[in-house]
């Protein structure tokens, strides 16, 4: 009976978010918009040295001041948005595509397939994410495709675990058994019976994993192993301008602020979603 009550309700009902959730959603929407239109509304060319002052204060025409070479910070952040969000989103998407598909497959398949896949990913998960990232990037050099692929592979085992756990719960319900008795194939079971019923938690998981990806990528950039110059994401902006830290230069504060608002915004949305959307994520 307990299981019956926990059965996921249809996802069609309108979402109602508390205020904190709405604020979070607003922040996230803002940054996503910036990722799309940022480069077009940037007031200056990202590479242009326009200020004679290094770490210039904010003033008319340079609303966020200038960086360690005298470039416009606002423009650099706006253009960097695309790298920060784009690479993380692509990597998360790939991770979920691989981990999620395999996770659902493991849940609906026979125990042998499930066991092999689960064991395999259990092993992968035991390699700390930053280490594997470092090793791969050292080996292959840092480029956007390599970054996306590396981060995707790193988060695949985690995605696999959660998707599998959620699918196993749904798979135990009678309607899947009915479909199986009807003679439906694995693809149908996954597409029609499992996926629609785990959509809520799985979107939440996407959000969490996206946050982790942003954190990992910006840490890599901070170490100089992420997005390579002349391109720059938020992490690289912090690194470039780290010398301005002591004076509290906007050039280092603002990119940090950007990262923090985006990730906190996503977390606010996730934390305030109704219960049936929730999933538990690990870093």
């Amino acid at each position: 009976m307990i299981a019956a009550q926990k059965a996921p309700a249809s996802a069609r009902r309108r979402l109602r978010l508390p205020l904190a959730g709405i604020i979070g959603a607003g922040i996230v929407a803002f940054w996503v918009l910036m990722a799309i239109i940022g480069p077009y509304i940037a007031p200056h060319d990202v590479g242009a040295l326009i200020d004679n002052d290094l770490f210039g204060r904010m003033r008319w025409g340079l609303p966020l001041g200038s960086d360690y070479l005298g470039r416009d910070v606002l423009s650099r952040i706006l253009v960097g948005t695309r790298y920060s969000i784009g690479v993380a989103a692509a990597a998360t998407f790939l991770a979920i595509l691989m981990g999620g598909t395999l996770g659902m497959l493991a849940a609906v398949s026979r125990s042998a397939v499930d066991m092999v896949l689960s064991r395999f990913f259990d092993m992968l998960i035991s390699i700390p994410s930053k280490m594997s990232a470092l090793v791969v990037i050292a080996a292959l050099g840092s480029s956007i495709p390599v970054l996306i692929a590396t981060v995707a592979v790193i988060y695949t085992p985690g995605a696999f675990r959660i998707w599998r756990a959620l699918s196993v719960n749904v798979n135990a319900l009678d309607f899947v058994e009915v479909a199986r008795a009807r003679g439906e194939g694995t693809a149908y079971l996954i597409r029609e019976e499992i996926l629609p019923n785990i959509l809520g938690p799985v979107l939440t998981d996407f959000g969490l994993r996206f946050v982790f990806a942003i954190l990992l990528l910006s840490s890599l950039s901070f170490l100089g192993l992420g997005i390579q110059p002349p391109n720059a994401d938020w992490g690289s902006l912090v690194r470039e301008n780290i010398n301005g830290l002591a004076d509290g230069a906007l050039a280092v504060v603002m990119p940090s602020f950007a990262i923090a608002t985006l990730t906190i915004g996503i977390n606010l949305v996730i934390d305030n979603l109704p219960g049936r959307w929730s999933s538990t994520g690990e870093r």
């Binding site: 299981a3 059965a7 109602r16 309607f175 009807r182 003679g183 019976e193």
Partner: protein
């Protein structure tokens, strides 16, 4: 004397999924007098549990006590603070919940949990509490009372846990005990003993109790007065005997009628005609867990089960929980490949697993599950749920499919507009109709019905049974009808098979099951079903009680699995030799070492003993070999 509990104008509201407030208990008033057992009876959703909990000032999350007054022991419960309520709960009012297994903390030993409330409220020293608990264990007929307390919940059976809950409630000598469906999760055989010890414990102490249940027959044994509830409002309050014999409200009459189902099945052609079977199951062995080299499962459940069902007839399968009923259905549907034996459809052997069967073979066997809620994909509208088998088996698409969906909905007496709704918006009975419609969509020859009415209320369940019978008459479908409830099975089945620990114990026509001689287990099962009259519980014979108190013990090999509990056993033979399955002259197969004549004689002796040994039973049991044919009032 003032009543122990006085409830006036109680009103409870609940927030539903969309955040709206619904009234779930409306203007309920009643009193419970000292030393009285009062029953709250009603179907699911009638607010029984909610009312019982509000006597303790407790509202489940999502619900709220919105108005009214509850006076307990001259204190106004609803205006007490949380702290005052805590000091009342467990000391003056104790609660015995429905699911014992879920209500014990799995991580703590039993004794600690049993005496916990006495320690929270500091009513006695730990040593004293422990001694009291042990004496309660003894009184409640629990085995090994000294050591039981050191065990953990998972090491104890469901019936024992339920009695431990009663001990937990009694340890502080509360003024009021609330029982919330304490036996609903138990098998009938287990239920008897639990009911008896509960009643004895309450009566001997002169305790006041509120007994919540949906089962009239059970309540008839326990209560002095009955409150009939429907949709959160009181329908009728009266002494038990009047409710049973002279109900005033129409609703009570419906409940009484539904509690004693009439036979629905039209008796078709005389048994034994040579109509070919739709399905024939031969010597199935199946189970769970890893398989050894010969494909034999680590946990064998079904042992050598065979059956056959003719077109348009119903075979009922009954047995206690865990006897392997669902496993049997899963084997036939190909969801659990059998280790041995074979399943034949119209004389053709079917591949063991569903994946290997042809689409047409799959179409002919459909399955309907017990839990209507979980059997429908909550993310898909009804039209799509019903449309899929049409498309899958018959290639119907577009408008033709939609038309057929509407026809199917009509067949199960639902409006065609239902197709656009989602399962979450339907009631339990409606969902079960959709489940049935989905099975019908395939146009099957056989439907496996696994406990299709068990999760439903009696009235709703009765309607589903009617529908099943009508559909059978119209479409000539055969059913394998699985249930743990004798009265449901007797209402619609042509043949009945009694399963115990994965072995067939008795298999015969419905009529044959009403005739002696019966297999010892059938006898136990039949006499364990509560009857709708007062005094039934007191009149149960010692033999039945003794047999009822044992649990299923799985034995390896071909020896009789009922041996541990059987009162007619022959030690050295029943537990060693393979048990023969014999055809008796009444037309049933019985698996027992005892022969037909032996069984008749032994049953006669037993009845004689009982009558002489228990003079308090005024009327003799209405069956005995001397009377011959129709014995148990089906």
């Amino acid at each position: 004397m003032a009543p122990v509990v006085k409830v006036e104008g109680l009103r409870v509201t609940a927030r539903d999924g969309r955040g709206q407030q619904n009234v779930i208990v409306n203007d309920v008033s009643f009193e419970v007098n000292s030393g009285e057992i009062i029953a709250l009876i009603g179907e699911s959703g009638s607010g029984k549990t909610t009312i019982a909990l509000s006597l303790m000032g407790y509202a489940r999350s999502g619900t709220r006590i919105a108005g009214g007054k509850v006076t307990f022991d001259r204190r106004e419960i609803l205006s007490l603070t949380q702290r005052e309520l805590s000091s009342l709960r467990g000391r003056d009012i104790a609660y015995v919940p429905q699911s014992a297994a879920a209500s014990f903390n799995p991580a703590k030993p039993l004794l600690k949990q049993v005496i916990e409330s006495s320690q929270i409220h500091r009513v006695m020293a730990p040593a004293e509490a422990r001694a009291k608990a042990v004496s309660l264990f003894r009184e409640l007929g629990l085995p090994n009372p000294e050591l039981l307390g050191t065990r953990f919940p998972h090491q104890v059976s469901g019936g024992q846990l339920q009695r431990l809950l009663a001990a937990m409630a009694l340890v502080t000598d509360p003024k009021l005990i609330i029982f919330d469906e304490p036996t609903t999760a138990l098998d009938v055989t287990t239920q008897i003993e639990v009911l008896r010890v509960f009643k004895k414990a309450i009566k001997e102490r002169g305790r006041t109790a509120v007994y919540v249940s949906h089962d009239l027959a059970v309540v008839a044994q326990m209560a002095d007065r009955i409150i009939v509830l429907r949709d959160g409002a009181i329908q009728e309050v009266n002494a038990t005997q009047y409710i049973l014999t002279a109900p005033k409200s129409d609703y009570t009459r419906t409940l009484l009628a539904a509690a004693e189902p009439q036979a629905r099945a039209v008796t078709r052609q005389a048994s034994g005609t040579a109509a070919a079977s739709v399905i024939e199951v031969k010597n199935i062995v199946a189970g769970y867990g890893a398989r050894d080299r010969e494909g034999f499962p680590a946990v064998p459940i079904l042992r050598d089960v065979s059956l056959a069902i003719r077109p348009g007839t119903t075979l009922g399968v009954i047995g206690e929980s865990g006897s392997g009923k669902s496993t049997l259905a899963r084997v036939i549907a190909g969801l659990l490949p059998a280790a041995r034996g074979e399943v034949q459809l119209n004389g053709v052997a079917l591949p063991k697993s569903a994946a290997a069967r042809t689409r047409d073979q799959l179409r002919r066997i459909q399955i309907v599950f017990q839990m209507a809620d979980t059997a429908l994909n909550p993310a898909r509208p009804i039209g799509r749920i019903l449309g899929r088998p049409l498309e899958f088996y018959h290639g119907l698409r577009g408008a033709r499919r939609a038309r057929r969906v509407a026809e199917l909905l009509e067949m199960v007496r639902l409006p065609a507009t239902m197709a656009e709704r989602y399962p979450g918006e339907l009631s339990g009975g409606q969902k079960q109709r959709i489940n049935l419609a989905r099975a019908l969509a395939a146009e099957p020859s056989l439907i496996l019905c696994d406990e299709v009415t068990s999760a439903l209320d009696t009235v709703v369940g009765a309607a589903i049974l009617d529908l099943l019978v009508e559909l059978q008459r119209e479409l000539g479908i055969a059913y394998l009808f699985i249930s743990h409830d004798l009265s449901t099975v007797k209402a619609i089945c042509d043949e009945v098979m009694i399963l115990y620990a994965g072995q067939i114990m008795e298999h015969g026509t419905r009529g044959a099951l009403c005739q002696r001689p019966l297999h010892p287990y059938s006898e136990l099962l039949i006499s364990s079903v509560p009857e709708l009259r007062q005094g039934w519980l007191e009149g149960i014979s010692e033999t039945v009680l003794k047999e009822a108190s044992g649990g299923i013990v799985r034995r390896a090999g071909a020896a009789c699995s009922f041996f541990e509990r059987c009162s007619l056993r022959i030690p050295g033979r029943c537990d060693v030799e393979p048990t023969p399955l014999r055809r008796f002259s009444k037309g049933a197969d019985i698996r027992c070492q005892r022969t037909e004549t032996e069984l008749i004689e032994l049953a006669a002796q037993r009845d004689a003993n009982e009558i002489s040994g228990r003079p308090e039973i005024s009327e003799p049991r209405d069956f005995g070999p001397g009377r011959g044919a129709q014995l148990i009032a089906w």
